[in-house]
């Protein structure tokens, strides 16, 4: 019963020099966890879409095959993927400390992200012009809310890209700025991954 008593010298009781921890690593871990909750949010929306993607839920309104345009959405895919690519180039520049190239990469990512959102708005406007609004049926509600939620994430990402652009220019590549740039990379890549899921489960599946 006495096996916890140490014979001889006791190991140290206090640890000195433990006062610094890796701020960027902790922030990145926290942001990964946030991305997990965001993934669950999209999981819920995809589940709702899966349930409501049924001719019964179209309630006499347009069905999936009638509203999706996989070719038009393909250009959206190209826009979001190249935007992520540009941002990745910015992170490569960040690794080497080229501030101007970081700014350039962020600008290109913003431009392509804006193209994505513009294409999406055009798509929605076209559907509205044909009377296919979210108020028509349960299916259209699910379609619009799923895609608009992703669109809102993209718009938020654009705002964040803009803020980071100003911070890189004004504050330089300080540790908090770098931590945010790395988290933004995670966020931006995640949105493109979600879009790929949207493209497959909504546009491609809908067109078949």
């Amino acid at each position: 019963m006495d096996d916890q008593r140490v014979r001889g010298e006791l190991p140290p009781l206090w640890n000195y020099g433990h006062e610094t921890h890796d701020m960027i690593a902790t922030k990145t871990l926290g942001f990964w966890l946030y991305m997990l909750s965001d993934a669950l949010l999209f999981a819920g929306l995809f589940a709702a879409y899966g349930v409501l993607d049924h001719s019964m839920n179209a309630a006499g309104g347009p069905t999936e095959a009638q509203i999706v345009h996989p070719v038009a959405a393909f250009w959206q895919t190209i826009a979001v993927v190249t935007s992520v690519f540009c941002y990745s180039l910015a992170t490569v520049a960040l690794k080497h400390g080229y501030r101007q190239l970081v700014v350039l990469g962020i600008l290109a990512a913003m431009l392509l992200g804006a193209v994505f959102i513009a294409l999406e708005i055009a798509d929605f406007a076209d559907l509205y012009a044909h009377g296919a609004t979210p108020q028509v049926s349960g299916f259209l509600s699910a379609y619009f809310v799923l895609i608009a939620t992703h669109g809102l994430h993209m718009a938020f990402g654009l705002l964040w890209l803009f803020v980071m652009l100003i911070q890189v220019i004004r504050l330089g590549l300080t540790a908090p700025v770098v931590a945010q740039l790395l988290n933004l990379r995670l966020f931006w890549q995640f949105q493109s991954a979600v879009w790929v899921c949207v493209y497959v489960f909504v546009y491609l599946k809908g067109a078949i």
């Binding site: 008593r5 819920g44 309630a59 979210p134």
Partner: protein, 693 residues
């Protein structure tokens, strides 16, 4: 395009008119008078003693995990009191409105509450107790205890921690606002669909309910991120995974559940919001909506939420039982495994809340078996606690009484849960008060554990112990109330009483209803003893000053530092060598060994950002509820602006020099002056050590 709203609408005030204030209702008048007096009792002394700067500087802008935890627990206790008053009103209505000859008072035909008012009360009772009482109390405990148990200076993200608190408080404030401005949801805390749709609930009640939960659940999700990051990244050197105290393990598993389940609730409510605000058809009865989509999404969150609450309660029992048995916890590894088994299975059982949906025997069988499987890890836990008690040197201090009471409730609630897991039985008792009695046993287990935790860790946090004698009165009256109310309720369930009845047609239920009312009387008495306990403890605090280990038998790291815990937690980060670190130090005569010298430390700085975000979040929720679009828009812009401003002006805190630390530590800590009442009774050297790891 947007749904048509009933009633007047103005740009400036949205749907709000002065008629929305129910000033003519005597019950609301009384509630308002009571709340106003309670508020004055707090505000007047604060003003009189000129404590507003102190309050702002030390509490409202704090990022200290202990103060945030204390505020979480105070919020939870206040909301629990309001939820209890709701429960008391439900019980009193039912005992008064039994049978066709029962008298009607005020505006009611039977009893004293008209149906719509009664419906609001059971809805707010459930919402308050689950979301705004149990959740904040357990979150607060995790906030206080987890960083101390792992030897951290603070949470991983101190500012975000404060934001979580204020978002939770905003949700609670919205529910409180619904009491005096407008009304609350009448659709139950689960939001029965399609009753929550705009066509059937045209008032702002459902909106209050929806946005209160939505905003506070953002806070809970952020807190879950914070706790996981803290436990993963902030552990003291030597605090290996196999040395993590069980309460920290359960808080970790509960945070994983919270992180992954609350987004689903967010989706369920956001889609309901789309239906109510944009006129979509997710859950409508026509136009291709799907009612059961809501019910499924809600319970995909709702069942993990049950384990989100119960796992920290299990963690508390796992800390309290060994401390008062003077033995190490039996079966540490199996306890951790059982915790994660329960957390995992929690995702596979949601459908047992509505076996009557008609999903068919195959689906029901799967969820029935999955539900029964939960009993295995839970049984492992119960036997672990029993084997810890077995041949232990048991002291029935107040925390131990609460823990033992919790064990009995777990047994009763668990076994009736096993009954309900069988679809055939479930069809018979579905929506009866038998189910209510079952889940109240489970949530009361959580309450018992929470009170065990409050009395157990109170001396650590405040530096003086709670009064034992009045604490025991509190426990026994509370326990008697529990027994009377819920034994009778199990019986009423078998006799066929369904839930949420404002009028009861069967006069044969009357004796049981009276027993329930007597039980409520004991609960009320226990509230009196609770406040008496606080009064006596604060009055006699000089006599009850706590040492760093006031119970004399505690085992884990948090008892190593001073009581009350200084704002920097540990002057020097401890080097952990054992699972039960304090016991290990006692056994090696090192428990009282202070660090030989001090080093400079780094602390996060207080900031008003969290409470400003909270204020904007309240404007956001209130604006959405009353559809005051300018307020909603401005609040949202305000939140975004504050976050962006903060990201530019990042303040990384301040340093305390080695000299300051030495000076702070040289002041005699309160606990050295007096030993606690228990310390003299047990010789710490006879503590049974945990195995070496």
């Amino acid at each position: 395009m947007f749904p048509h709203l009933q009633g007047p609408y103005s740009f400036l005030f949205g749907r709000f008119t002065l008629d929305a204030i129910p000033y003519a209702n005597p019950i609301i008048q009384f509630a308002f008078a009571f709340s106003a007096v309670a508020a004055l009792l707090i505000v007047v002394p604060v003003l009189y003693y000129k404590k507003i700067p102190y309050l702002f500087r030390e509490w409202l802008t704090t990022v200290d995990h202990k103060k945030i935890g204390i505020m979480y627990i105070i919020l939870g206790l206040v909301m629990m009191f309001r939820g209890f008053v709701d429960g008391m009103m439900i019980r009193t209505q039912q005992v008064m409105a039994d049978g066709p000859n029962s008298a009607g008072h005020l505006e009611a035909t039977h009893g004293y509450l008209p149906p719509s008012h009664f419906d609001q009360i059971y809805s707010s009772h459930g919402t308050l107790m689950i979301i705004f009482a149990a959740t904040p109390i357990l979150t607060g405990l995790g906030n206080i205890i987890v960083p101390l148990q792992i030897g951290a200076r603070d949470m991983a993200f101190p500012t975000m921690n404060a934001i979580s608190l204020w978002l939770t408080a905003v949700g609670a404030m919205l529910v409180m606002a619904s009491l005096f401005i407008g009304d609350f949801s009448t659709a139950g805390w689960v939001g029965l669909i399609p009753l929550t749709e705009l066509d059937f609930s045209p008032s702002t009640g459902v909106d209050y309910w929806m946005w209160a939960i939505q905003i506070s659940s953002v806070g809970t999700t952020l807190n879950a991120i914070n706790v996981i990051a803290t436990i993963v990244a902030m552990r003291a050197p030597g605090m290996r995974w196999d040395r993590l105290p069980i309460f920290t393990w359960t808080t970790l598993s509960t945070s994983i559940i919270g992180l992954t389940s609350f987004p689903i609730l967010g989706v369920a409510l956001a889609l309901l919001g789309a239906d109510r605000y944009l006129g979509t058809h997710f859950y409508t009865a026509g136009h291709g909506g799907d009612l059961m989509l809501y019910t499924n999404l809600f319970w995909i969150w709702g069942h993990p939420e049950v384990y989100f609450l119960v796992l920290p309660a299990f963690g508390i029992l796992s800390e309290v039982v060994p401390a008062f048995s003077e033995k190490p916890l039996f079966g540490y590894i199996t306890m951790v495994a059982a915790t994660f088994a329960i957390a995992g299975i929690s995702w596979l059982v949601w459908l047992h809340h509505f076996f009557t949906m008609g999903a068919g025997p195959k689906v029901n069988s799967f969820f029935s078996v999955a539900t029964m499987v939960v009993g295995i890890p839970t049984g492992v836990k119960v036997f672990n606690w029993l084997f810890t008690l077995y041949r232990g040197r048991i002291t029935f201090a107040t925390p131990m009484l609460w823990a033992c009471g919790g064990l009995f409730l777990l047994l009763i609630g668990g076994l009736t849960g096993m009954m309900l897991a069988i679809p055939a039985i479930n069809y018979t008792v579905h929506n009866s008060v038998f189910v209510i009695a079952h889940f109240h046993c489970m949530v009361l287990l959580i309450v018992y554990a929470a009170f065990a935790a409050v009395s157990f860790w109170f001396p650590k946090v405040f530096g003086f112990s709670l009064d034992e004698r009045s604490g025991k009165y509190f426990f026994w009256t509370f326990a008697l109330g529990t027994i009377l109310v819920f034994t009778a309720m199990f019986g009423l369930g078998f006799m066929g009483e369904t839930r949420r009845l404002d009028y009861l047609y069967n006069t044969k239920w009357f004796p049981a209803l009276v027993i329930e009312e007597v039980g409520i009387g004991f609960y009320t008495l226990s509230c009196v003893f609770f406040f008496y306990m606080l009064y006596v403890s604060i009055r006699d605090r000089a006599k009850n000053i706590a040492s760093s280990d006031p119970w004399g038998t505690a085992r884990t790291l948090e008892w190593l530092t001073h009581s009350p815990v200084p704002f920097y937690n540990f002057a020097v980060t401890p080097q952990v060598s054992s699972r039960d670190e304090l016991t290990y130090r006692y056994l090696n005569n090192a428990a009282a060994t202070a660090p030989a010298h001090y080093e400079a430390i780094h602390m996060p700085k207080n900031t008003p950002v969290p409470i400003i975000i909270g204020a904007f979040a309240f404007g956001f929720g209130f604006g959405l509820t009353w559809r005051i679009w300018w307020l909603t828009g401005l609040s949202l812009l305000g939140i975004i602006a504050v976050v962006i401003y903060r990201s530019f002006n990042r303040d990384d805190g301040y340093h305390l020099s080695a000299e300051t630390m030495a000076e702070l530590e040289s002041r005699p800590p309160l606990g050295v002056i007096a030993e606690s009442q228990f310390l003299s009774r047990s010789d710490p050297h006879h503590l049974i050590p945990a195995k070496v790891h």
